[in-house]
């Protein structure tokens, strides 16, 4: 009994028994919804975005299942390496990356334009989870560990900011910081840094690019320039608001169908979904995300190893953060920052990163009884 509990190798049957099917099904349903929504953004035809998203999901979903059978200890072992590879890619991107609409974010991989910054969202969690796995509680607040962990966060953040991609860099740094929070960094440090952040905000703003400043101003008063910078958010709110309780119906969202919605494939996909399926549909989607987040936390809670626990909690927060940021943004609760909705938004790198994250969580749930030395 005890033997089996601590055994490092489970039989296939045991592995399947431990498998988190609720999470798996939720991800699958979300994927199906996303393909149908993508079909709607293409105006009810199977065009480029639908095809491409479908293919990516069809590849990445099985890949996630396969990867989830990799023992969690290998994820732990490869944590630093993964981080360093992605960091290397980020450096490579900043030098030789594909430039599009003013920023250098992508590596051309023929079948996929890889965006390493999206992968970094996972890598930073993985790396820090490994880092804090070994550190004793008493050492968490030691100067050296804080310094190292902050370096792990700041280096990629700066690389991503210079692409420039403010939205992703914020998400990377928050994903990293949350690991610091879980690992026991004193609350007062968070309070202090928050206060410092607030007081330095005016200076930070003065360093922002004009278009970024405009976005912040637009957030406070979108009606000021309804056809210019305020257009996206106004049209997005109109789309969501006109959806009503039950929505306009699948493929009947006039705002998106008639091209009033900008970026409807990517950041604003929730708007389209919400227009067509209304408040009830939006709630279903939100509940689906809540289930996914809950299942990830659940996996963390049952995990024996501190690494799994840290990763799951961190990743669940990251998912929450993406969802909350994206929805708040399209509902006019936050300024417009580029942040995709996990799984739903069009974008291979984001989907790949999310799927890798899920596979680590699934792997942790299979091997939840396994400790990592």
């Amino acid at each position: 009994m005890l033997q089996s509990k601590f055994s490092h190798s489970l039989t296939l049957f045991q592995k399947i028994k431990n498998y988190d099917f609720v999470l798996l099904m939720s991800i699958f349903i979300l994927g199906v919804i996303s393909i149908f929504t993508m079909y709607s953004t293409d105006g009810g035809e199977i065009l480029f975005h639908t095809k491409s998203h479908f293919i990516k999901f069809v590849i990445f979903f099985p890949m996630m299942i396969i990867l989830s059978f990799i023992n969690i200890k290998y994820w732990h072992a490869g944590g630093y390496l993964f981080y360093l590879i992605i960091l290397g890619l980020l450096v490579w991107v900043s030098l030789y990356g594909v430039k599009a609409s003013g920023s250098r974010r992508w590596i051309d991989l023929y079948f996929l334009n890889l965006q390493p910054s999206e992968l970094m969202k996972i890598a930073v969690i993985l790396c820090l989870a490994k880092f804090f796995h070994r550190i004793r509680t008493s050492n968490t607040n030691a100067f050296s560990s804080i310094l190292i962990s902050l370096t792990i966060i700041i280096v990629p953040t700066i690389l991503v900011i210079t692409q420039p991609d403010l939205g992703t860099s914020i998400l990377i740094s928050f994903s990293g910081l949350i690991i610091l929070w879980f690992s026991g960094l004193k609350i007062k440090y968070f309070v202090y840094s928050f206060l410092i952040f607030i007081t330095s905000l005016p200076f930070v703003i003065s360093f922002l690019k004009p278009y970024q400043k405009l976005r912040i101003l637009t957030f406070f008063d979108p009606e000021k320039d309804p056809l210019g910078s305020g257009y996206q958010i106004i049209q997005s709110k109109i789309a969501v608001g006109s959806g009503g309780l039950t929505g306009k119906g699948f493929l009947k969202g006039t705002q998106s169908y008639l091209d009033f919605l900008p970026e409807k494939h990517t950041d604003f996909i929730f708007t389209l979904f919400s227009e067509e399926f209304g408040f009830i549909g939006s709630m279903v989607l939100l509940i689906l995300y809540t289930i996914i987040i809950y299942r990830i936390i659940h996996t963390g809670l049952i995990s024996r190893s501190f690494f799994s626990r840290l990763f799951c909690f961190g990743f669940s927060f990251a998912i929450f953060l993406y969802v909350a940021t994206n929805m708040s943004m399209v509902l006019g609760l936050l300024p417009i920052v580029g942040s995709p909705l996990p799984v739903m938004s069009y974008g291979g790198s984001s989907l790949l990163a999310t799927m890798i994250g899920f596979s680590i969580v699934l792997s942790a749930s299979i091997d939840h009884n396994q400790n990592i030395s």
Partner: protein
Amino acid sequence: MFDVSDNVQKINLINRRLFLITAAKILVFIGITSRLFSLQVKQNNKYLTLSDKNRIREWKLHPVRGEFKDYFGNVIAGNNEVYQLHVIPEQVEDFRYIALRLKNILNLSEKEFQKILKRKREIKSWETIVVSDNLSWEQFSKVNNYLHDLVGVKTVLSISRIYPFKENYTHVLGYVSQANEKDIMNNENIKEKFVPGIRVGKTGLEKTFENTLLGENDIQRFEVNAYGRKISQLEYQRGEKGKTLRLTIDTEVQKLANELLKDQAGSICVMDIYTGHVIAMHSSPSFDPNLFVFGISKDDWQLIRNDPMKPLVNKTLQGNYSPGSTIKPIVALSALENGIINTKFTVNCRGHKHPLELYGQTYHCWKKEGHGFMNLRNAMKQSCDIYFYEIARKLGVDKLSETAKKFGLGKEVFGDLFSIEKKGLIPNTQWKKNALGQGWLLGETIITGIGQGYIQTTPIQLCLMTAHIANGGHRIYPKIVVDDENNADPIDKFIPLYSDPKNIKIVQDAMFASTNEVRGTSYKSRIDNKKYQFAGKTGTAQVKKITEKDRELDLKTFEIPYEERDHALYIAYGPYKNPRYATSIIIEHGGSGSSTAAPMAKKIFKLVIDRHNLRQSINEKKYLDV
């Protein structure tokens, strides 16, 4: 290596912090939910409206203008189907090539060609360019021949104004033309219904009844995308054609008036003396109003504008003329009414050698030899000026002006109906003091007695005056639009204009004599048949003062330069036994009233009286329908 207590401590810590974070997450999700609820459920209507406003665009189409019909229901201003040529740049492969082809096919000028190219640059590629809004039949068939290789070009059926009787009705109806900024600014209704290229009334009844005629736009509702491209038609809301107006005018009489005045400047109007219906109202020369519908060409416009006979002036309403001797019935009536004279009152007219002298001024009769002893009847019949100088002197200008005003002179006959209508001028002592700051001179009274001097009347006023005399002195309100609800007769209709009906009879009898008895000024133009017999009064209005030298020369009309010739006037009513119609005729620089104007009356009464029964039957039919 395995430190249990530290692990437990670690796990406790992480769980505690997880709890905090989870609480925060729940709060954020509740926040998002409530935001969704507020947008989608509470403010749903607001955003639904905004969304519809986004996607639904209205296109107003040309409203169909109401028609004008004459008294017998003939269309005198109608709607005609015309072919327009449209090009949609988006459907054209090589726009310049197509434009060049069209230039050749339609014979467009270089300027028009450049205009098309310019228009193309201004609009979105899926919008329509109207290359021509009125293809001639020749152009239309030519374009249709080449249509197979003119992709993106199409001929479209449209509706435009047409005036089938051309110049006959120009001064009554006016004309329509493309609305300009001023039209839009001055009329809310036009502003509301405006579509590019809309035609609105510029003058005449077309302008007066703009709001009645305009009609309601057809409205097309389209779903459009964010770039304004039409995606699908959602609704087609039929507008309403403007109201059709029926006039009191008889086209046949109107045509006759036009024919009679051909190549001459002047005016003819005919009026029903009981109903006030205007049977004909024509000002000559006229012009073809159809020229204005699609924008008049520069040459045509110069031709009309520079014509010395002034076709643009509606002489019937705008022409201020000295009435000349046609005022004499009113002078006589006024003198009778005021008891200044009776029928036996006699004045001796002794010819040019013995003119009337007053304060050193001399006043001549038109007849060199003089008329001899004249009573009222004879004086009117032969239009003796000396007699009327005398009674005007005795009457005084103030009493004369009172009678003249009562009978319809000195104010607009149609009220507000025509904005251009002139008031004329019936002078009195008070007027001169106010307007010129001078005292009235007796000499001015004397010449007013023969319709010269300050006194000015419009042809329509003279017609109304004649009608008032003819109907026995009952006030009528001239009408040109049947059933114009804005123009109901006021209640003073039945108050007589006279104090003694006998006086009117005397004047009527004198006018009868003038036309139907030997030595009457219009004796030559009489009709002996009782059915058509009419009574009238000639007039010859001097354009310039007659000098002693002129009197000696005694030139014939054709020997005098055109601008210095007298205006010829004639007023008449008939049939005499049972009067029904009144007319006034004026021919600018036509010489004497008896030689040019009176013969026209003969033809007019013949036609008008012949058509009387037909006219009556239309009225009866109307009642039968009820």
